[in-house]
Amino acid sequence: MAQARDDAPTPGWLGVVPGAALLLLFLIPFGIMLAVSVAGREPGGFYQWGFDLAGYRRVMSAFVGGILLTSVAIAAGAALIAVALALPFTVLLAGLSRRAQTAILVALLSVLSLSEVIVGFSVSTLLSRTAGVGNLLAWLGLTAEPQSYTPSLFALMTGLTYLSFPYAVLVLYPPVARLDPELGQASRTMGASPLRTFAGVTVPLLRAPILGALILVFVFALGSYLLPQVLGRPEHWTLSVHITDQAIYQSNLPLAAAMAAVLLLATLALVGLALLVARDKGAPA
């Protein structure tokens, strides 16, 4: 035991730094949030420290439950679409020359520097009746006159997919680049079509990173509050939008904190469930 520690390539005390950062920047704010979530709401005022479960009682209503379900469905949809697009993209990308790969990855990374606001407004313009693709479709004769496609579920999913696609590629790229090409070649030699090789060999080999990418995009999309406002209709407003409304516009911090705590618990439960299911299937998660 002591021997192993002497041989450790990284000094153990280095762990103190991220540990302290985690405590300072995550656990303490999280603790404050939990404390606020049970603070007493002063109607027409702010809040007072105490123990009052009114916020949680409100969260446990059918209405908020419905919003939570909507949020989960939208985030899961965005995760599925983004990863379904990112997987073949990354596999093809890994087959390109080093130089082309670098150029494409840099371009993808630059998307991450765009704020949600810019993406939201760009998609809303792109899908608008006055300046958007509707004009192109009308010009091509596909529709009688230009139509608007925003705000809508389609617009929202487009925005969310655009924002989360680079994350999915970045998670998938390292394992895809390390894939043993001989496995695919063996499959082809034995007569499998390229599509069958992709579905029967490449995808199963990547099960763990695919799950990782799904979870990352799911969590990322679940926290989105700006795109649902700009691109969605009220029925697509996620729990994050309602949390913002309560915290920023109604200054009802106890309710906002209670909703945030429930959202966090739901997220953890879903991610845990996904990992559990993956382990039952025998994939290293």
């Binding site: 109607p43 209405f63 009220p234 029925e235 920023i248 516009y249």
Partner: protein, 356 residues
């Protein structure tokens, strides 16, 4: 031009400071932090109000851009708990002002220092329950029915247009009960006034009527920029918006117009208040008193486009200048009690009505 004006003002600062307010200038180690809504309001105050104020009183102003909504109230409240004041004087919406009053966030003001207090009507002189002064009306503005002139060659005349089936999926409305005042608009349009909002049953009736307009609403907006852009392009050619900003956009050649409907436009306002954590109460009072002068209110109307908070008889605004920012027609006055006393209940019913 700008440079000349600025250097002229700087010499003015020195001169006026030496003559008028030497003690104030000495007393202040830093400048007075004044919060106004970021963007257009802040730019206008920076350009038209603060330089002249500093030139006259010797009090330097640091302009702070506030977020809209109640985000600023939350920040002031959190900061005051740590004895910090991100701004000394802030322009607050009435709901935020009342909530701040309820949590004793505002510093009491000294009435003897506010010589222009008498210019303001009673509803713009804010007192606590034990009648201590803590704020005054800063600016007021109208929320009107706005349209894109290309999509609507004829101006609508009534808020009833929000319910007209001909306007299906063409309307943009503010997303929250407390900033859209759509409960008041609905009550004034369909229930003969806002009295019906005095009871919860009444509010529910009004909400149900408002819900009938939902198929017409394309966008429930929180971001003003998003709606204004859509209104100008004709993407969303009708909605509720601010009279002042719409007039400005029209003056800049945009195909938009603002209409005072027959039932009246909503008259909303912002008020000056001072955070209890502020160390600059004296300077804050000088500023608040300055802003209550008729000629400053007239200047705001001419340059910023807000409606004056002092009586019209005190102002030298021409009829055209007055019409550009206000209307003599009776306005719809917001029922602020809905968003303070019944806030949580109203917000819950509201979001269930809109989202449900």
């Amino acid at each position: 031009m700008t440079m000349k004006r600025r250097s002229f003002l700087l010499s003015g600062v020195a001169g006026a400071a030496a003559l008028a307010a030497p003690s104030l200038l000495r007393a202040q180690g830093t400048s007075l932090k004044v919060g106004t809504y970021g963007g257009y309001f802040q730019d206008s105050f920076n350009q038209h109000i603060f330089p002249d104020f500093t030139a006259e009183t010797g009090i330097a102003v640091e302009s702070i851009g506030e977020p809209t909504g109640e985000a600023w109230l939350v920040q002031l409240e959190q900061a005051a708990r740590a004895n910090q004041a991100p701004a000394d004087v802030s322009m607050m919406s009435q709901v935020a002002r009342l909530k701040g009053e309820a949590s004793s966030l505002w510093a009491p003001l000294d009435e003897t220092k506010l010589t222009n207090l008498g210019n303001l009507p009673e509803h713009f002189v804010h007192r606590t329950a034990d009648s201590r002064l803590y704020g005054t009306g800063a600016v007021s503005w109208y929320i009107t029915l706005v349209t894109n002139t290309e999509a609507y060659p004829e101006a609508p005349t009534t808020w009833g247009a929000l319910w007209d089936p001909a306007n299906a999926d063409r309307i943009g409305l503010l997303a929250l009960a407390s900033n859209s005042f759509l409960l008041e608009i609905t009550a004034a349009t369909h229930f003969g006034g806002t009295d019906i909002l005095g009871t919860e049953e009444g509010v529910m009736q009004v909400l149900q009527k408002l819900a009938e307009a939902k198929p017409n609403v394309r966008l429930w907006y929180r971001d003003e920029g998003q709606f204004q852009q859509a209104l100008e392009s004709g993407e969303i050619p009708m909605g509720q918006y601010y009279h002042d900003v719409t007039g400005l956009a029209a003056a800049n050649g945009q195909p938009v117009r603002s209409t005072f409907p027959a039932e009246g436009a909503v008259l909303d306002s912002g008020s000056w208040v001072v955070s209890r954590a502020s160390q600059m109460l004296d300077q804050s009072q000088v500023f608040i008193d300055y802003m209550a002068r008729p000629e400053i209110q007239a200047k705001l109307s001419r340059n910023v486009g807000t409606a004056p908070t002092v009586g019209r008889d005190l102002l030298d605004l021409t009829d055209a200048e007055f019409a550009a920012v206000a209307s003599d027609a009776a306005p719809i006055l917001p029922r602020y009690d809905l968003y303070t006393d019944r806030a949580d209940w109203v917000n819950q019913m509201w979001s269930e009505m809109i989202t449900g």
